[in-house]
Symmetry: C2
Subunit: 262 residues, 2 copies
């Protein structure tokens, strides 16, 4: 369905806030001129979907006119489904890079695991497509995305210029929500150990039955100066290289020495 | 809602196939006698949900009588939601261990990322609860779970006997689908690099519109003799220690040396 012009790089764009979110529009603008942009994104918000895939029901996809001069498709699937559909049914090849976002809200630290934005990027990385997820530390739909757009452009053009791009390259980029002039720079970081202290808001419905809303307070337990949370608190853009090999090699060695399941 | 008897260990059990699946019943039987078992599981199948959480809609939970002498709750949430609800609204404390499964089907290699079974276990590990996910290499509901039940009992009792249990301990256990006598032993492994070659089955609905079913062929690219896929092919039970710090430290070092985003 997509005609590939030789030499031009194919940039696949997706997100988890849905194809109509301002974030994806800003990502398209940031990528303009760096290659042929193709958008394949969910037809509705899919925040917090993690690495969910759709296996119990079929998927739909429709071409839409939302971004001037850019081929765009919306699908009924999750962000991960979008990447799979893009490669198999729309591009009929692997794109040169996959960009996901710009997410409305932080995906630093432990959020990488819950984030649909990062799961879409991880899916691409598993497939052997270099991939970057972008998130702005501002949940509001009316957030000023212009500083983020400039930073995304800088990062993507820098990465695309690399001679030997690792096909499994996967970056989690978070951008502080401050005017462009106040951004101090870009730091390569590790994922902070932080988590949510969950509390459920308990309510009673009109039929007298209980229901629960997930709420929670974010807590950073990581005091290191090399973490994404540390960098973001100081108005740096954080770039965390991410991997999909979840093996805990330290624990592996320890278990081999200490445990026998006889 | 749960009375805690001093000294007795609390074993939280969940899964992603839903509370009525044979796998969770077998896990409850395997854990009997090792502590006070409490079940909190989804009220419907949630396979492939990854680390999804429910943030856009409220959750329901109801006490059910499904396992003799065992407190059990079904929730409308994902496997990850179940762990959060269990800690905050049912146990009102962290359990001593969280067990997830027994999943109907393999969760070795890259499947760890898509698996609701493993995501529930990972959520517990993030919370500081030692956790183990169990999967049997047989998708059928009528699968013979008796060999798996014995192995689960051996592994859980061995882990519970450890003096200093890492609070973030997280194990991905896969069990070959063969008679107990044919199981060669238990091997500590790394996650194999494998992936699915996706293909979507394209169909046309009665209204003439296209829809797509996700299908795919599993391919193992990892020739190592220390992987879970290798061990399982030789009828060993594979135990992969898993971590939730996704930072790629090798790539981090490399990027620090080679890339400047000026």
């Amino acid at each position: 369905m997509t005609k590939v012009i030789k030499e031009e790089k194919i940039i696949l764009i997706t997100n988890d806030d849905g194809i109509t979110s301002p974030g994806i529009k800003n990502l398209v603008e940031a990528a303009r001129g760096l290659g042929k942009v193709v958008v394949v994104a969910p037809d509705k918000p899919q925040s917090g979907m993690g690495h969910a895939i759709t296996i119990g029901s079929p998927l739909r996809m429709n071409k839409v006119e939302l971004f001037e001069g850019v081929e765009a498709w919306q699908t009924s699937g999750t962000p991960v489904d979008c990447v799979k559909l893009a490669v198999d049914k729309i591009l009929h090849r692997k794109p040169d890079i996959c960009l996901s976002g710009i997410n409305h809200g932080a995906n630093h630290s432990i959020n990488v695991i819950y984030s649909g934005t990062m799961s879409a990027a991880m899916e691409a990385s598993i497939e052997g497509i270099p991939s970057i997820g972008f998130s702005l530390l501002d949940y509001r739909y009316e957030a000023d995305m212009m500083p983020a757009q400039k930073i995304v452009h800088t990062i993507v053009s820098t990465i695309l210029k690399q001679k030997k791009l690792d096909k499994h390259l996967l970056l989690n980029v978070n951008i502080p929500s401050v005017p462009y002039e106040e951004i101090k720079g870009i730091k390569i970081c590790k994922q902070a150990y932080a988590k949510y202290d969950e509390a459920f808001d308990e309510r009673v419905d009109p039929q007298g039955k209980k229901y629960f809303w997930l709420t929670g307070e974010f807590k950073n337990f990581d005091k290191g100066k090399d973490t994404d949370v540390w960098a973001l608190q100081r108005n740096y853009v954080s770039v965390v290289p991410v991997q999909f090999d979840l093996t805990n090699y330290t624990l592996k060695k320890h278990l081999e020495k200490t445990i026998s399941f006889k």
